[in-house]
């Protein structure tokens, strides 16, 4: 492994944070402390952490409705995230967005979205902006297998390829779009093949193996920074929970779930670290305890935070405009 011990520990810790965060969210949903919908990322941690560890802090990502993992992997903070999920004023979006709208644009997280595939062209636009501003940044565009059947996916890949933009399309193929298996609704088995129509290189990696994800994305990032254009990377992965909390998971078998549980990205990576004598089992347990403590304190922060003031209901719909551009007395 070419990574330093510190880096490897960091990846493990981040994946654990995501897993524990999602388990906590599940618990808080059941206790009705978190309302609304949350689509949990557990099982897919290696994708977000592997991909985000292949880019720099000033690079961009776009996320999805299943976006908690992306946000944390991009450096998002547990307390602000948990507060947002609870609809609190201290959350990333002041409680307005909840699970599906978390963004931290100044940190390069251009946001999650509630509409499948809708962030793919936004990522292309960010990459266009990078190219026009000549900043050498790259954009990681996360989306699922389901999104690759949407029209705007195809419009966007075409545009990115024609303009040779520094964007990496990261398809998290977790086998199902809500309940419908990819094999029942996608004409090709590997979503990566869809890049061929746009003369775009494509790669497939093991989405349960963080180092494989990282290495694959690194190759794509290298191409993008060189000015050689976009790449489509498909990560084969699996979500451990249902689509959302109301999902009985009737469309998949217990055996299949067990099979993928055995490929758990955290267990796999922990084993790799102990097998290679980089960490002892006790150290791993200690890292997990620390992550647990952080998630607990995020929960405490969120629960104790106030709800937003209703007086601010219509704040921030519009950015302020100077008087020479706008009559502030007009109705909007």
């Amino acid at each position: 492994m070419k990574e330093s011990k510190k880096e490897l520990v960091g990846y493990l810790r981040k994946m654990m944070e995501i897993r524990l965060f999602e388990e906590k969210v599940m618990e808080l949903l059941a206790r009705n402390i978190i309302k609304g919908a949350s689509h949990l990322y557990a099982g897919e941690e290696a994708v977000a952490v592997g991909a985000c560890s292949a880019i720099k802090p000033d690079d961009y990502i776009t996320s999805t409705h299943r976006g908690h993992g992306h946000c944390l992997a991009k450096g998002g903070k547990l307390p602000e995230m948990m507060a947002e999920l609870c609809g609190k004023a201290t959350g990333y979006c002041k409680g307005r967005g909840g699970s599906m709208h978390i963004a931290d644009v100044t940190k390069g997280n251009l946001g999650a979205t509630g509409i499948v595939a809708s962030n793919i062209p936004v990522a292309v636009g960010a990459a266009l902006s990078v190219k026009m501003r000549k900043t050498k940044q790259v954009v990681l565009c996360f989306f699922g297998d389901g999104a690759s059947n949407n029209g705007v996916f195809h419009e966007s890949l075409n545009m990115a390829s024609v303009w040779n933009l520094p964007v990496i399309f990261v398809c998290e193929n977790n086998l199902y779009g809500m309940s419908v298996a990819a094999k029942r609704c996608s004409a090709v088995k590997d979503m990566a093949d869809k890049a061929k129509a746009y003369d775009m290189p494509n790669m497939i990696c093991d989405g349960m193996g963080i180092l494989d994800v990282k290495e694959t994305i690194e190759k794509a990032v290298k191409r993008a920074r060189r000015g050689d254009g976009p790449t489509l990377v498909e990560c084969k992965t699996y979500r451990y929970f249902g689509h959302s909390r109301s999902d009985p998971r009737a469309y998949r078998t217990k055996e299949e779930e067990k099979e993928w549980r055995n490929k758990c990205p955290i267990k796999q990576f922990s084993k790799k670290l102990t097998d290679n004598k980089i960490l002892y089992a006790q150290e791993i347990a200690q890292i997990e305890r620390q992550a647990e403590e952080d998630v607990e304190s995020a929960e405490k922060f969120a629960v104790e935070s106030p709800y937003p003031d209703v007086k601010g209901l219509r704040d921030d719909i519009y950015a302020p405009s100077p008087a020479n551009l706008l009559n502030g007395g007009a109705i909007r």
């Binding site: 967005g97 963004a103 960010a126 266009l128 966007s156 075409n158 950015a319 007009a330 109705i331």
Partner: protein
């Protein structure tokens, strides 16, 4: 003052803003070499090159989505959708992304982009190239909506729209591109949300915008011979909407007619009428009348197309009715 065409006023606005700010760029279908389906970007490709004037594939959703992505990362795109009828292809990007991002992200981002498009009937190009869909846009919190009726307004409002930090939908009218009017050379700005009294009058207030403003003006001129003095107000921007100027006029005239080319049901006029009722019911001496497009897909045949949208006679009839 010199007179130039509406389309050239638009070109001038974009040229001046692109010269002023290198972050401003143009993207859309046929905007570069062709110069825009109605010539509103003509000459800009030659001046600024393909980096800043970008022909795109016929991918409306990606055009608007890419404009959003560029806007939130430091650019100021002016995207063009050739006909507003095609906005259906990009509605998710416009309504769910551009309009909501700032609010949903806790006010931590801005989406400084302009979506230029055109609408309206008059060229016998039927139901997919002739609609007036501004009510859809006006309905959505987070968007501004600008609909200039003259070359002067077109230039000043487009410059304001490009400089504003919010997503602005800027709807031109296909029958106005060839219209001439006075336009100052160089920089001037018309702020969003300031209505313009295009004709002073005392007996009735007529609110009209875009091409229908001119229909209302013709009707007002003709009504002079009947001794009816109509005040014609062009809101110029439907969001923000300068309701104060309309109310001030209604206070004087006590009568209101609203003209719009959009379908009658849930028309922009319905909203303006309701606002006047809410804020100025006591000012009115007669029921408000609206003259709108007929609730029908715009047909091609010139006879049918004419019948589907307001015209001078219909506006005159409505004004006479409220002035009885």
């Amino acid at each position: 003052m010199r007179e130039i065409l509406y389309k050239n006023a638009l070109v001038e606005a974009m040229r001046e803003e692109m010269e002023r700010d290198e972050k401003v760029f143009i993207m859309g279908e046929d905007v570069a070499i062709y110069g825009g389906a109605y010539g509103a970007t003509k000459g800009l490709y030659e001046q600024f090159g393909e980096e800043r004037v970008r022909d795109t594939a016929i991918s409306e959703s990606a055009i608007v989505g890419a404009a959003i992505g560029a806007a939130i990362t430091g650019m100021r795109p002016v995207a063009e959708i050739m006909y507003i009828d095609f906005i259906t292809q990009a509605m998710d990007q416009l309504v769910n992304q551009a309009a909501k991002m700032r609010y949903m992200f806790g006010g931590r981002t801005t989406v400084p982009m302009v979506l230029r498009t055109e609408g309206g009937a008059g060229r016998c190009i039927a139901a997919h190239h002739s609609q007036s869909l501004e009510a859809w846009i006006m309905h959505v919190p987070g968007l501004y909506l600008v609909m200039p009726s003259t070359p002067y307004d077109a230039k000043g409002l487009l410059k304001a729209s490009i400089r504003d930090d919010n997503p602005v939908v800027f709807i031109e009218h296909k029958m106005l591109y060839g219209m001439k009017g006075e336009v100052p050379e160089g920089d001037y700005i018309i702020p969003l949300g300031v209505a313009d009294i295009k004709r002073k009058g005392t007996d009735v207030t007529v609110v009209a915008y875009s091409r229908q403003l001119h229909v209302a003006m013709e009707a007002a001129t003709e009504l002079e011979k009947d001794n009816i003095s109509a005040e014609v107000i062009d809101p110029r921007t439907l969001k923000p909407l300068d309701i104060d100027t309309i109310l001030t006029s209604v206070k004087k005239t006590s009568k209101l007619v609203i003209v719009s080319e959009g379908y009658k049901t849930c028309n922009v006029a319905s909203e303006i009428a309701m606002l006047v009722t809410e804020h100025g019911f006591d000012l009115l001496d007669a029921p408000i009348k609206r003259v709108c497009g007929v609730d029908v897909p715009i047909p091609m045949s010139p006879v049918l197309e004419d019948a589907a949208i307001p015209n001078k006679q219909r506006v005159i009839n409505a004004i006479k009715e409220v002035c009885q």
